[in-house]
């Protein structure tokens, strides 16, 4: 055994024998312990966050419907439009949350190199999910609002009606690049540094 190995053996003993006062947790490690309770709470936290998001969306949708019913006598076309928008928002929310949930679950028990690859893939996937689903949501909203306008604007001249349809459609189409831009900015700010560091780590660990 050379000197280097002997030194490592000494260091191993020193390292493993160190007594750490912060992890004397025997008192708290019991079936109903604080840490287990905390973990149960943590598992519920994400569900609660998503529940809040869904409630907010339902409230917005509810207020919009209430407003329409209060200030107009909704025709079948308005009702159909509302139903369509509601369906689009529901499908978007479910798809987005499902895919986001799937993408956010990292398998921490993989070997580090595989874990890094997976983590990079998942971070990029988070961005792809939005890019994939968002245009369909906007197109759905355009269709829904145009159906509502068909029933709402019956008293106006054809020219003004067309103008309304065009303006609302163009405004919503403008949301697509705007949504992508905001998403890209957020991605670059929050996720790109993570990807860069993971790539860097992987390259260095692989030599």
């Amino acid at each position: 055994m050379d000197k280097l190995d002997q030194n490592i053996n000494t260091l191993q003993k020193l390292w493993q024998d160190q007594k750490l006062k912060d992890i004397n947790m025997n008192a708290v490690i019991a079936p109903d312990s604080f840490i287990v309770k905390q973990l149960r709470t943590f598992e519920k936290l994400q569900l609660r966050i998503n529940a809040v998001k869904i409630t907010l969306l339902a409230m917005i949708m509810g207020s919009f419907t209430w407003y329409l019913f209060k200030y107009s006598d909704p025709s079948p076309s308005v009702l159909l439009g509302l139903f369509w928008i509601g369906a689009c928002l529901t499908i978007f929310t479910i798809l987005y949350l499902m895919k986001q949930f799937k993408a956010s679950r990292l398998n921490f028990s993989l070997p580090t190199i595989d874990f890094i690859d997976l983590a990079i893939e998942k971070v990029q996937e988070q961005n792809k999910i939005f890019r994939l689903i968002f245009p369909f949501l906007v197109l759905g909203l355009i269709a829904g609002l145009n159906i509502i306008y068909l029933g709402l604007l019956t008293d106006l001249s054809i020219g003004i009606r067309i103008a309304y349809h065009l303006i609302v459609s163009l405004l919503l189409i403008g949301l697509i690049p705007l949504g992508f831009k905001i998403r890209n900015w957020k991605f670059k700010k929050e996720n790109q540094p993570v990807i860069d560091e993971l790539v860097n780590f992987k390259n260095e660990i692989k030599g």
Partner: protein
């Protein structure tokens, strides 16, 4: 696995590995607050991973993989990594009543030297200090056995130079 089994398994794994996990966190990060937070994150990931633990890997390898990978991600969350530690911080972690002054000084020197290594080297040397074989380190990190050997030799020399220098 039902809830009671999961909790029982978690508590057993935690009891058997908590010291090692904490030391790994200690080797990777420096300041006490971050070490405690990272330790909690590792616990959470072990808990979440229990449902999919099928025993394909050795339990200790499985636990270490989670600890190492959590450390990687944790490091992305915190920008604040101190490069040097002082005696006061060391005293907050080491149980002074049961360590001699000499041991404490040696440990401080060791931890200071580890903190001077690159992040990936810190993880590897911590695994080595835990007494893991090259094969186990290769299984945890996913790098080839030969390269683990090369890397460890390099780190050992660097560490020795730092401790003696």
């Amino acid at each position: 696995m039902d809830k009671t089994d999961k909790e029982a398994l978690f508590i057993r794994i935690l009891n058997e590995n908590k010291d090692r996990i904490y030391r790994l966190c200690l080797g990777y990060l420096i300041d006490k607050q971050n070490v405690d937070d990272l330790f909690q994150d590792v616990m959470v990931n072990i808990w979440r991973g229990l449902d999919s633990f099928r025993g394909e890997a050795k339990e200790s390898t499985w636990v270490y993989r989670i600890a190492v990978n959590t450390s990687l991600i944790y490091n992305k969350k915190t920008k604040r990594i101190q490069q040097l530690i002082n005696q006061q911080e060391m005293d907050e972690i080491i149980d002074q009543t049961s360590e001699s002054i000499e041991t404490r000084m040696n440990l401080t020197a060791l931890r200071k030297s580890i903190s001077g290594l690159k992040k990936q080297d810190r993880l590897i040397i911590t695994l080595l200090l835990e007494g893991m074989s090259y094969q186990e380190i290769a299984d945890i990190t996913g790098i080839s056995l030969n390269y683990v050997g090369v890397k460890i030799n390099r780190i050992k020399k660097q560490l020795e130079k730092m401790i003696n220098g």
